[in-house]
Amino acid sequence: MKATLLIPIIAVVTSLQAAQPNVAAASKQIDALLAQSWQKHKIKPNALVDDATFLRRAYLTVVGRIPTLDEAKAFHASLAPDKRSKLIDCLLASDGYVQHAFNYWADVLRAQSQGVGGSTTAQQYLNFIRESLSTNKPWDQMARELVSSEGTCFDTGAIGYYMRDRGMPLDNLSNTTRIFLGTRMECAQCHDHPFDKWTQKQFFEMAAFTHNMSATSYRSKGNDEVQKMMRADKSLDSQSRDLMRQALNEAFRPLRDTLVVQNKGAIRLPHDYKYSDAKPKDVVQASVMFGKPVTLTKESNTIGEFGQWLTSAENPRFTTIIANRLWKRVFGAGIYEQVDEMMDNSVASNPELMRFLEKQMVALKYDMKAYLRMLLNTQAFARESTKEVSPGVPYYFQGPVFRRMTAEQVWDSLVALVSPDPEQPNWSAREREKRDLENRRRLAQILDQTEAPLLFEASKAVADAMREQNKEFDALRKELDEARAKDDKEKARDIQRRLGQSQRILRENVSKHFYAAAKKSGNEKIQAELAAVSGGGSMDMAMMSLMEDTRVDAKDMPLDPKLLKRIQADEQVLGIKDPKSAKSYETYQKTLHQTWSRAAELPSPAPRGHFLREFGQSDREIIENASDEASVPQALTMMNGSLLGQITGAWSTLSINLRKAATNEEKINTFFLSLYSRPPSAKEKAQMLQTLESYASNKNLWEDITLAALSTQRFIFVE
């Protein structure tokens, strides 16, 4: 957990390096190239913004939320002449940067917590993105890892890239060219591209590189051998075989969708291929669509070669696309539009600038933070926004483009009003993932290394047990029919409940017998793993804990000393004295992360109906599927949603800050800084004082004022 940004801002002058000189020079160069373009097109740049606008914009652009009261105060109070560039450094170094960037890349990469690709891989995929951004992994490396990783999710979460499109290798390739090369090929999957130059054959030549990336169930030698033994054992009847298979599947079930392997198979044109350059069902050789040709030999790691070609600085589009994508992140529009729909005749609105940015990207070795730092330090970023940019008309970047906050920015800004530590990780979720991953890894090791005959024996033991069990179930079913005939509902319900236990009983049997099998193994490693597993509970059920999902209680979160101090200070402000109230305030703070974590810490995407989805968070089903369209349910949520009550509740950070302010004037100041990142204008202050006076009898006046402010457009649009 990092402290809020308040301390770094004050200390930043000494503790952080000043922006590197070459960054400053590059930023100036960008401004110069923009100025040339304005002159050429006879347009004037927008005026420069004041500190408050810059502050709010910088926070939203870099960390994805509005500044907290303390952060806003610190910035406004600072007299340092270079406080803006210090702020940029500080924001880029914060956890908030990672969370904000995560939302973007999770949209682009369609990373979901649930869905295709078992949850262990899905979580590891999300963690791969999170960690790559956290360590500021160079983009070319991150891209290469995504497209050329194979193995289990215990090796790398990057395999989630192929797991995500499991069974859809052609769509996966279309996504790959779109994401990394800004080139749309999905039309060419079925026929020559009608609007671009790509032929269907070219599509298949490209797909020849990636179609062998196969997302499969966990493969274990033991499992294959047991299946073989079962087929060979003529003493088994078909029912026993079915039951044994079921037992084996149940043991391996938690490991499904954890492996991506590179097969070696030829790819053929479709049966209805209709062009003259090849025949239907012809085998297609891998060949790149542009750039330096790739020669494959029998020994080549096809996917590795593909990754190298894709992410090379010599690739004609790889650098342009990332430079343009990040430019759009900062300025709200791309130099090329669309950022992911480039064609040979696409024209940059400022070709010299585009070339310069590409060169910088390469010189910075695809360091995304350094590149962003360069853009954020331009004067162009410190200009007033342009109201609207017409589609299809080139934009020359007289300033950034006026935008609605993304769903995540709106939500994360609310989090900043509620939580004393907005960037706090979702401890319960992270802890649960960590334990699940460790359990699955252990299960994989045990099942991998237990000798096949032992696994066979275990499957057989489970089958025998289940056969007995099924007899009991059959008897129960007869009883159920009788109970129904007599209309004895209570008895029927009771029998149904007992019948409903069948899956659990199966799992218990699997756990028991496979544990026994592993115990008999001569493999020392397994014995060590088993010793580590059994922990406290019953030995029989030890395997069960490896197979089931972990439960974590938020209240068990260890209290960070800084947070503890803060809680104690809050208790003073709130006048909490008795131990019982203190305890419940502590529990509130400990469990806050479950609800009021930043979007990047919640499930990806948030469940349907969540505030985030209502405001247009992408479903992450297709690339960048977020929306900023207005809707009536959004307005209803902002006006009447029950969640908003927690922003105005007594224990929210906003309420505590308002309570700390002694006079009405101070409260108004706190309010404007908290919601709008600026002190009130003289007129606003006078109006507000008037309101406070007129409605002095309204005990919930600050609640009403806050909800009014949240429903303003000033709150959800970025100036």
Binding site: V116, N470, A635, L636
Partner: protein
């Protein structure tokens, strides 16, 4: 918003210029982002519509056709303990688990020859809802979104399309603008979310908030007079209007007599069906109610009758209710699932996934009391008249008067038609 608009404007040019495809007025609606008044620019139907509304009852998880609409009493191994019963339609037998529906089958057309192309839930569910295969490069619209796109909303105060259920993967609007997507209702008894002020917020306080919001925002809205800001200003006005709207009563099930509520079944599905009828009365034209899980791998003969009881109660009540109100001719009820279940009964007394299943259509101009298509006596194959999900959706589209051969381009410039060239079963209409 910008990127979408650019794509759409490029699209419009492409579609008009390169391909000679004309745009319908309501399509331009999508591409230009301009709002049209309801009814304005409605598509000219290629065929006369036979139905105004659709209530689509979706059986999540793969309904066992063999234990519901396609029993095999003469084949004990396939049927298990399930018997078939006679119905109000000559020659139409259904499972004993659906006794109430047996009395309504003279209204129904049972399609026993449904065949899909996969036995995986997600893919088959998507295929049934959209007529297209699940792809990771595009999302296709559900049928209600196509209706909304072509013909707009039946009542400007209410959404065109409502989904009652909790499947977070519902395709919704697909590549159309979000507003063509369904309004999602999780709990039919809870009504619309957030349409009432929080407890303790009096009219005065609510008015004070609106007034203060106006004051805080006046300067900003003056300076930033953009389409986006204006859209939000309108949206707040609309939301306040909706809060006071008389049409909200469409969502209020307490307005129904207790007897009728009980007749539908006091469970989420039954009340969802009742809500669907109320919404139809108030001008909502496409409502989906989902119900399940029918995924009976284990203990099929315990779970299926339980599920059937709920379905039977609600569906029979809905048919009776619509008929009594004279709404059955204009309202088509469709019962379908993503796939069916195996003729083979597995070691857990369950049935596994099977790509053959049954659907039922009632009302909305369809002939009643008939069966269409058949499975083989062992239930393993289609004996005659195979019908795929696109054909079923084309039949729905045909009934609603949607132009089935009109090519629409997605924002990514890919051409699509409603129901993806499925053949409507026109001969099943009266």
């Amino acid at each position: 918003m910008n990127s979408e608009l650019t794509r759409r404007s490029v699209m419009t040019r492409m579609a008009q210029g390169c391909l000679g495809v004309g745009l319908l007025p309501s399509m331009e609606h999508l591409f230009s982002g301009k709002a049209l008044a309801v009814g304005e620019g409605a598509a000219v139907a290629k065929q006369a519509a036979t139905a105004r509304n659709v209530i689509f009852l979706y059986m999540t998880g793969g309904q066992s056709h063999l234990d519901t609409w396609d029993p095999k009493p003469e084949n004990k191994e396939v049927a298990g303990p399930v018997k078939a019963i006679k119905t109000s339609a000559d020659g139409v037998q259904i499972s004993e688990y659906l006794p109430r529906m047996a009395k309504q089958m003279h209204h129904a057309c049972v399609i026993n020859s449904m065949a899909t192309n996969t036995a995986a839930h997600e893919q088959a569910n998507y295929f049934m809802h959209t007529s297209f295969g699940l792809r990771s490069t595009i999302k296709h619209p559900g049928m209600g979104a196509w209706l909304s796109f072509y013909q707009g909303s039946g009542n400007p105060a209410l959404p065109a399309y409502v989904y009652v259920g909790n499947d977070s993967r519902h395709p919704g609007a697909g590549f159309f603008a979000k507003k063509h997507g369904p309004l999602m209702v999780n709990n039919p008894e809870a009504g619309l979310q957030n349409v009432r002020p929080q407890k303790g917020v009096t009219d005065e306080r609510f008015a004070l908030r609106r007034e203060m919001a106006g004051a805080l925002d006046a300067e900003f809205q003056g300076k930033w007079e953009t389409r986006g800001v204006k859209a939000y200003a309108d949206m707040y006005d609309d939301a306040v209007k909706l809060m006071k709207s008389e049409d909200l009563v469409a969502f209020d099930l307490t307005k129904e007599p207790e007897e009728l509520r009980t007749a539908y079944g006091k469970d989420t599905f039954g009340q969802g069906c009742l809500l669907a009828r109320r919404l139809v009365e108030h001008g909502v034209r496409f409502i989906e109610v989902s119900f399940g899980s029918w995924d009976t791998h284990v203990a099929n003969f315990i779970n299926t009758p339980r599920l059937c009881d709920t379905l039977d109660t609600a569906l029979a009540a809905l048919v009776t209710d619509l008929e009594r109100r004279g709404m059955l001719d204009s309202t088509m009820i469709v019962v379908s699932s993503e796939f069916g279940r195996t003729p083979k009964i597995n070691q857990n007394q369950g049935r596994d996934h099977y790509p053959i299943f049954s659907s039922v259509i009632i009302g909305g101009g369809i002939k009643g009391g008939i069966k269409y298509g058949a499975t083989t006596p062992d239930g393993a194959g289609i004996a005659a008249d195979k019908v795929g999900p696109p054909d079923l959706n084309a039949t729905i589209g045909y009934a609603l008067g949607l132009p089935l051969d009109q090519v629409i381009f997605s924002p990514s410039k890919r051409p699509f038609t409603v129901a993806d060239k499925g053949q409507p079963l026109t001969h099943l209409f009266a």
